[in-house]
């Protein structure tokens, strides 16, 4: 008579455990994620002669395939745009995020391809199990120079932890654009900013830094 509830409970437990485990597996911890992606990219660069000899397109492809999936560009763009983000339509937001992504990818790719024999040190990381926001701190050690701090801000989403800001030596690559973006929007509206970003990317693609 008493068996049924117990049986149900046992069944529920057995079913719940793998589900919880699976959830844990998908959500790789933020520090582990940053380290594995960094090491993955650095290993790929070390092996690739084209990247070492300055093939930008190949570096961009590498960044796109290995780094991009772990970034949340719409959050990044919102942070860079600031208050005006709410004025943008869904289509404008998508265009903005796309153009901003292309600009950052190119900048990041160039920084990455300058990598020679620097070492990355991962600083001790602490977080609570129910945190939805995390800061992973690393340090680039270069021969004959002061180490450079490189920090990643991540947020927990249902698709895993995603990077939404990169901070180099205390300078956020995202909020650094804020005053420029708001000036562009003041001058030419959201579409004006989209246009400026598009032109910038086009000029960079042609190989002349605008």
């Amino acid at each position: 008579m008493n068996y049924l509830p117990k049986l149900l409970l046992a069944a529920a437990t057995i079913l719940a455990v793998p589900a919880a485990l699976a959830q844990e597996m998908i959500l790789t911890a933020p520090d582990v994620l940053v380290q594995s992606v960094t090491e993955d990219v650095l290993a790929a660069i070390r092996q690739d002669k084209d990247i070492k000899s300055g093939n930008t397109q190949k570096t961009i492809n590498l960044v796109q395939s290995k780094v991009l999936p772990h970034f949340n560009f719409s959050r990044m763009t919102a942070l860079a745009v600031g208050r005006d983000w709410s004025k943008a339509s869904a289509a404008q937001k998508e265009q903005l995020a796309g153009q901003f992504r292309d600009l950052l990818v190119r900048t990041y790719a160039n920084a990455v391809s300058a990598y020679r024999d620097q070492k990355v040190r991962y600083k001790p990381f602490k977080m609570n199990p129910d945190d939805t926001d995390a800061l992973v701190r690393t340090e680039i050690q270069q021969p004959g120079g002061r180490p450079i701090q490189l920090d990643y801000s991540l947020e927990k989403t249902d698709k895993g932890w995603k990077v939404y800001d990169v901070v180099v030596a205390g300078v956020s690559l995202v909020t650094n654009y804020r005053s420029t973006f708001s000036q562009e929007i003041r001058d030419g509206g959201i579409d004006g900013l989209i246009k400026t970003l598009t032109e910038k990317n086009r000029a960079l693609e042609k190989g002349k830094a605008a």
Partner: protein, 256 residues
């Protein structure tokens, strides 16, 4: 002397004109009330950099082998160590200050007049304090953003701090009676510093839509971070824009 004065007058005129010309449709940001003048000074700086400072730095970078460059950097860095260490004490960071004194002693002796950074090899790393940060720790407001040709981005507070640090630097005083030597020391130190910034040139050109604003934002963020000793924290945001955080779920857009 006369020539110098004429140059100065011309420079001031250029700045004032530039200031008027570009003041038109820029909404000022709080940290940069002198934006028009600063932008004019920035283009003066860019002009000097393009024809003189950058080519010199590139030549120096190409001609001087890495060990020699490291030696030069260490030599000047060692002299700045006195101000660094003093500023650490003034900010109440006793351990960092003592570290700095130990570095100074080791590098000036074992490191042969500071040419070799033996202290870092021993794990005694260099602090980054300066009087601008000390003033910030003491609660002095940053003052307006100032772009100073040749010196680069600054704030009123940092410029005053720089002056004090220069005054404390014994390198200048030791050779005050030998202008030729003093000027060449200043020259080498400036060219060396510019050469260390060469790798970031391309990055800034490529990443920025507005180079002036990009450098300004980076400088203000960097200085705020240095005052916090690199600890993460809310930056003194230049505009303090409240950020609307979206949950962009395109699927959830209601059909009308």
């Amino acid at each position: 002397m006369k020539q110098n004065r004429n140059l100065l007058v011309a420079l001031c005129a250029a700045v004032l004109l530039g200031g008027c010309a570009s003041n038109a449709q820029r909404a000022p940001i709080a940290a940069d009330p002198l934006e028009g003048v600063n932008r004019a000074l920035f283009s003066v700086h860019e002009g000097i950099d393009k024809v003189a400072l950058k080519p010199l730095a590139q030549g120096y970078d190409a001609a001087v082998p890495l060990p020699a460059k490291m030696g030069i950097g260490n030599f000047f860095g060692n002299f700045r160590g006195i101000a660094r260490s003093g500023n650490a004490f003034l900010q109440g960071k006793g351990e960092e200050g003592m570290n700095g004194l130990a570095r100074l002693f080791i590098n000036s002796t074992v490191g042969i007049f500071g040419l070799f950074d033996v202290a870092s090899e021993m794990g005694l790393y260099e602090g980054e304090e300066d009087f601008g940060q000390t003033l910030a720790v003491w609660g002095v407001p940053s003052g307006p953003y100032l772009f100073v040709p040749l010196l680069g981005p600054n704030t009123g507070r940092d410029l005053a701090g720089w002056g004090v640090d220069q005054y404390v630097n014994p390198l200048g005083h030791q050779v005050d009676d030998q202008p030729a030597l003093r000027n060449s020391l200043v020259g080498v130190s400036a060219v060396h510093l510019r050469a260390t910034l060469l790798p970031t040139d391309q990055l800034i050109e490529e990443a920025s839509l507005d180079k002036y604003a990009y450098i300004r934002a980076a400088y203000l963020q960097r200085r705020a971070s240095m005052v916090r000793d690199g600890k993460p924290g809310a930056a003194e945001d230049e505009e303090n824009v409240p950020v609307y955080e979206p949950e962009t779920t395109p699927a959830a857009t209601p059909a009308e």
